[in-house]
Symmetry: none
Subunit: 107 residues, 2 copies
DNA sequence: ATGATCGTCAACCATTTGGTTGAATAATGG
DNA sequence: CCATTATTCAACCAAATGGTTGACGATCAT
């Protein structure tokens, strides 16, 4: 599974998008993330693991509480991929992605 | 399934993203879309239907040939959603312009 | 009219996905 | 120590996904 596969697949689920929106406000513990959803804690825990594997959030355990933090940079690849459609004339996407990779390395 | 569900789910598959990249060049018939893939025509046909349901392409039948056309506007909703998470667009536009500059230098 | 080509449909299959429950692990509080 | 809280694990399940094959309806060329 490539990065883009994981990113877009993670974003395809409405529960996961809602979680990301919540984390936009502030970091949250797993239990608090789960609270508004009509779904078991285990289900939310799985969603969070998927988001983490996609790099969209990070999770840090302090004591018995695991804090979830939005990592919006993970959207960069997907966002770039999408923007290459629509605004420009035909372009070499492979070259563009390679170019972006070099740009990111420089940072 | 909301629009965003359908859009992101459609983009989560590498075959479908590759198809979209191909259609960036030009409109194509179903058979020609399928040609480079190591996969049955029926499988590609299904992928195209998924892309069409997500609004990412349109399909028009002329004679026995069905032409597939990229509809990049369908990405707008998803792009907007993603941008609410951050500051990607300016960065990407700069990067894209820089990329285009390198492309022109190479020619 | 016949045969080839274009594309979809229907049935099937294996794998993945998104959910459940109950038990397990680990940290905290009294 | 004991109960409670926070989270994950494991087993299970139904439904969705991504692929196959073979038959089929259209359309085109000879």
């Amino acid at each position: 599974m490539t990065d883009l596969d994981a990113t877009f697949a993670a974003l395809a689920d409405p529960t996961r998008r809602a979680i990301l929106s919540m984390l936009l406000e502030d970091d949250m513990a797993v239990t608090d993330v789960a609270e508004p959803f009509d779904m078991s804690l285990a289900a939310i825990s799985k969603h969070l693991i998927i988001l983490q594997k996609a790099g969209l959030i990070s999770q840090e355990k302090r004591g018995r509480v695991k804090w979830c933090k939005l990592e919006p940079d993970a959207l960069r690849g997907a966002s770039t991929w999408m923007q290459s459609f629509g605004q420009f004339e035909p372009v070499n996407l492979d070259a563009f992605e390679a170019f972006l990779a070099t740009q990111l390395e420089d940072e």
